[in-house]
């Protein structure tokens, strides 16, 4: 896929209209994972709009987003950056062999109290 098609695909599956963004940065101001991320929520909106998607696809930022929806909730323009990040992440892990996490990774994550919820959620986010 070239950039235009990739952009179209991401906008389609996210259902987001990035043109509504007024570049206020409130999403990134709200983001609890900001420091862990190379690209921040507002950059997802603007880079996708610009068609710069490859750097996003390669970035670990995709796996640091907590899906806590704070950016969505506080965006004054209804842009929903979390949906954009999800769409890019899926575009990345839907590729053959691109799973972020495998069953082999599980044992080291476990301790006595690890809830099943953690594993299930992580698999949903990191694996296709």
């Amino acid at each position: 896929m070239n950039n235009t098609e990739l952009k179209k695909e991401i906008l389609r599956i996210s259902g987001v209209n990035v043109k509504k963004c007024m570049k206020c940065g409130k999403c990134s101001a709200s983001c609890p994972a900001y420091d862990e991320m190379e690209f921040h929520p507002h950059q997802f909106a603007s880079m996708i709009d610009n068609g710069e998607i490859e750097p996003l696809l390669r970035s670990d930022s995709l796996y640091r987003c907590l899906s806590c929806f704070a950016c969505m909730e506080r965006c004054p323009r209804g842009v929903e950056p979390a949906k954009l990040i999800e769409a890019v992440r899926l575009t990345a892990i839907r590729k053959q062999g691109a799973n972020r996490m495998t069953a082999d990774d599980v044992p080291q994550m476990l301790d006595d109290n690890t809830p099943g919820q953690l594993l299930v959620s992580a698999f949903r986010k990191y694996t296709k």
Binding site: R64, F69, A70, E80, P115, G116, V120, S121, F123
Partner: protein, 267 residues
């Protein structure tokens, strides 16, 4: 209190093992409050997180099946785990409002009648507030949590996206605080009560979870909380793992305690 409502109750996977407390205290309390929880015969894990991509069908089917079983039983669906609540309610919202998604799911499932989001989904807290009523909960209290300073920890999944979940004001929620008041406790408001603990990312980046959870607990402690209550097993796990400053319990536990049935459950 007589039976006021029968509901379909979805415990979810974690409540069957690590979060047994959340489930058992919830069940017993419901009984006391006149709510009959009926667990569907067969249910699957909700998936833990809702995938917002609107072309994702498979990951949402288990929730749709669950919603359908509640519809067939003509009962509202009640969840108690924040994550299940989030996934099931968002899925129901999509089934109700996203026509393309709904049609694809219905075609895929090929059931006799389509499911169009008819089921009402309640979080257990909403059930207490909107069906039982906090004033009735207060009347059923046997052992008030007198003077206990309790911080409600909502996290992210219980409230957001606010428009879809429609549970409470996502920036200034009151529902757990109101419950604490009903149970005779003293709620402690602190700003980070709706900030994420680190969620599933703790699988990959414990540092992030540690930082976030720490901030939440510090903020609550600074505001004078003596304990935190939550509705989410993952929140409880993260908060407990990264700080021992405050005890973390499920809201159903303080409910059971105030209703005077905590010991009964533990017997």
């Amino acid at each position: 209190m007589g039976v006021i409502m029968k509901v379909t109750y979805f415990p979810g996977c974690t409540l069957k093992n690590k979060a047994r407390d959340l489930d058992e205290y919830g069940r017993k309390s419901a009984e006391v409050l006149g709510i009959t929880l009926e667990e569907p015969k067969a249910w699957q894990c909700c998936g833990g997180v809702f995938t917002t991509a609107n072309d994702e069908i498979a990951t949402k089917l288990s929730s749709v099946r669950l919603l359908r079983s509640a519809k067939d039983a003509d009962q509202p669906l009640v969840t108690v785990c924040s994550a299940c609540h989030n996934v099931v309610k968002q899925t129901n919202h999509a089934m109700k409002n996203d026509i393309v998604f709904r049609d694809r799911v219905n075609r895929y499932m090929a059931e006799e009648t389509p499911y169009n989001g008819e089921t009402t989904v309640y979080h257990y807290l909403e059930l207490l507030r909107d069906v039982v009523g906090f004033s009735n909960v207060a009347m059923a209290v046997k052992k008030p949590l007198a003077g206990k300073k309790i911080g409600a920890y909502y996290g992210c999944l219980l409230l957001r996206p606010g428009k879809v979940l429609g549970m409470d004001d996502p920036e200034n929620p009151r529902i757990i605080e109101d419950l604490i008041v009903a149970l005779g406790g003293e709620p402690v408001i602190y700003a980070r009560r709706n900030e994420c603990c680190g969620g599933y990312v703790s699988a990959e980046s414990p540092a992030l979870a540690e930082k976030n959870s720490g901030k939440v607990i510090d903020n609550a402690a600074a505001a004078g909380a003596e304990m935190l209550v939550t509705a989410c097993p993952l929140c409880k796990y993260n908060l407990e793992k990264y700080s021992s400053k405050l005890p973390i319990v499920y809201f159903t536990e303080i409910l059971a305690e105030a209703l005077g049935i905590k010991e009964e459950v533990n017997e």
